[in-house]
Structures are given as C-alpha cells and as structure tokens.
Amino acid sequence: MAGKSTNPNFMNGVPELLILRLLQQQEMYGYEIVQAIRSQSNEVITVGEGVVYPVLHALEREKALKSRRKTINGRSRVYYSMTRSGSRRLAGLCSDWTNLAEAIHTMLTGAEHIEAV
C-alpha cells in the first residue's frame, strides 16, 4: 500500500461514508472507487485496496448498494450504484461526521484559545 496509513480507530464508518459519497454521483467499480478515494482525498486517506470489496458487499447486502456486471472494452466488471436506502444512510453518516468534525474543531480551537490566554 502506498503512502502512510490512516489510524484505523478513526476510520470506523469512513469507508462506507466515502464509498456512498462517490457512488452518489455515478456507478463505479472497485478499482475506480479506490482510485477516486486516493485522488479526492489527496492521498491522505489510503486503504488496502482489496479491503474495499467486503465493505461493498456488506453495503449491498444491507440494500444500500446494488450491483450489476457490465462489459466495457472487453473487460467485465462489477459496477456498484446507490439505492434510495443508501441515500438515506449517506445522509445519516454525513450528519454524524459533520457533528463529530465540528465537535473536534471546537475542541481544537478551544485549546488554542486557552493556550493564548
């Protein structure tokens, strides 16, 4: 795996969030999803590329995603797309992560304020 790895304790729920966010825009296959995560996070978030599939399969099992096999340029691949249930799940995850990020930001800026005083 290229680059530095992200602390796994802070990654709980992140792969689902990122995958759902990417698939909200268009259907993609596994390799595309991993490359998109790498490029759109400026390689800050890196995951073992093969680990994405169990997450995709679990999301599909929970009806957040659906898949279909499609052949393009002679290559057959499994494409994933988001369902309505997946949209609801994405909204919930986004809300949770926004609240968490704001709380952490508040704590960090609060700490700076205390230091300044």
Partner: protein, 239 residues
C-alpha cells in the same frame, strides 16, 4: 500457486460461504489486473508490476480478515456444522426414503392392484418403474454421503463432520427396512411403512461398512489428492 489461493483457502476454511469467496476472489483478480496494467504503464516489468499490484491490494491475511469480520458471509457449515452435517443429511435421507416409499405405494396401486404385496416379480414398464424406486431406496445413503462430501470439500470443512455424517447415513441405511401391509378390504389399498431394525448385528455392521466406504470414497480421494497437492507445492517451494 495463484495470487489469491491463500486468501481463498483461509476464507473457505474459516467457514465463509463459497459464493461470497468466489465473488470476492473474482473482484480481487479484476482489481489485480487493473493495478498490474497501471504499474506496467509506469514502465515497470511484468514481475515488478504484479508484485506492486499485490502489495497495493493488501496482504492475504488482511484481505481474509476483512471478509471474516462480517459474520453474515459465513455459510451454514461454518456457523452451525452440527445442523449442516447432522440434521440436513438426516432430513435429506428421510426425504429420499419418503419418495422411494411413495413410488412403491403408487406402483402397487397402479401395476399390482388387489395383490397382497408389491414385492413380487413384474415385467415391462412396471419392472423399470419399481427398479427406479428400488434404486432410489438403496442408493439413498450413498447419494446423501456424496452430497455431504461435495459440500464438505467445497467448504473445506473439518473432516470429522462429513465422516460423522457418512457414518450416520451408512448406519441408517443398513438398519432401515420397508414393510408392505396388504389391504384390509379386497378393494382397498395396502400401506407402506418403514422401520429401523438392527436384525443380525454382524450383517448390519457389514452393510454399514460397505455403505460407509462407498459414500466416503470420493471425499477421501479428494482429501488424499489435496494432501498430495499441498505436499507437492511445499516441496517445490523448498527447492
């Protein structure tokens, strides 16, 4: 050894359902091909590109762990081997016996109306019909055993479970008996029943051993083949 054989084997041995393993490995292979092409595009040799692709996908234990962490991908054989290799074969054996008895009862009514027993010589289509039913009855423990062996091999189950199932099916096959009771009234139909009767213990034991050997043979052959292949692979790696 292919790149993902280790992942496949560890997932199957851990009880993950073969269909989930097949799908996961298929997608890993597709991903591996894409990564190899990407690395080749950067000017790497084929060997270097494949090595880099495998490294980017993740170590086999990490890949296996990612799927093993999700219990709903487990098969029945992994989750409840007692049910898969105890209850299910028993139910299958019962179902086949029920079909065989139904064939016998129906044939008795159609081909031998008014006779005291269906166990009499017949000719023509009736002989074929009763022969098929008889085959089903006698082959039931073997068919169940072969099915158990196939499932156990596909799912890399611990050998003790299928062997217990073979023994169980062979024992039931050796003590099961079919009875036909003639009609109470001349115009009525007779009845077919089954019982478990040990009879002569030596004869039953011999019958059990024969059934066990036939039922277990394909699975045991597969085990030997697997062990031979594994030793050949490890021998090549040492060389």
């Amino acid at each position: 050894m292919k790149p993902f054989d280790e992942v496949r084997e560890s997932l199957l041995r851990a009880g993950v359902a073969p269909r989930h393993v097949r799908r996961f490995i298929g997608e890993l292979q597709d991903h591996f091909a894409d990564l190899t092409a990407e690395e080749r595009h950067r000017g790497r040799s084929r060997e270097d590109a494949q090595s880099a692709a495998l490294s980017r996908l993740g170590r086999p234990d990490v890949l296996a762990k990612a799927l093993l962490g999700q219990r709903h991908f487990q098969s029945w054989c992994g989750r409840a081997p007692g049910v898969a290799f105890g209850v299910m074969p028993l139910a299958a054996l019962g179902a086949i016996y029920l079909i065989a008895c139904s064939v016998l009862w129906f044939g008795w009514r159609v081909f031998l109306p008014g006779t005291e027993t269906p166990f009499i010589p017949v000719n023509g289509f009736a002989a074929i019909y009763f022969g098929a039913g008889r085959f089903l009855y006698y082959a039931a423990p073997i068919l169940v055993g072969w099915s158990v062996g196939l499932i156990a091999a596909r799912q890399r189950s611990t050998a003790r479970w299928p062997i217990l199932a073979f023994a169980f099916a062979a024992f039931l096959g050796s003590v099961a008996q079919v009875h036909a009771d003639g009609p109470v009234f001349a115009s009525g139909a007779g009845s077919i029943s089954m019982s478990l009767n040990l009879g002569d213990p030596f004869s039953s034991l011999r019958h059990s051993c024969i059934l066990f050997a036939i039922a277990a043979l394909p699975y045991l052959a597969w085990l030997v083949h697997k062990a031979y292949a594994a030793s050949a692979t490890s021998g090549r790696e040492v060389d």
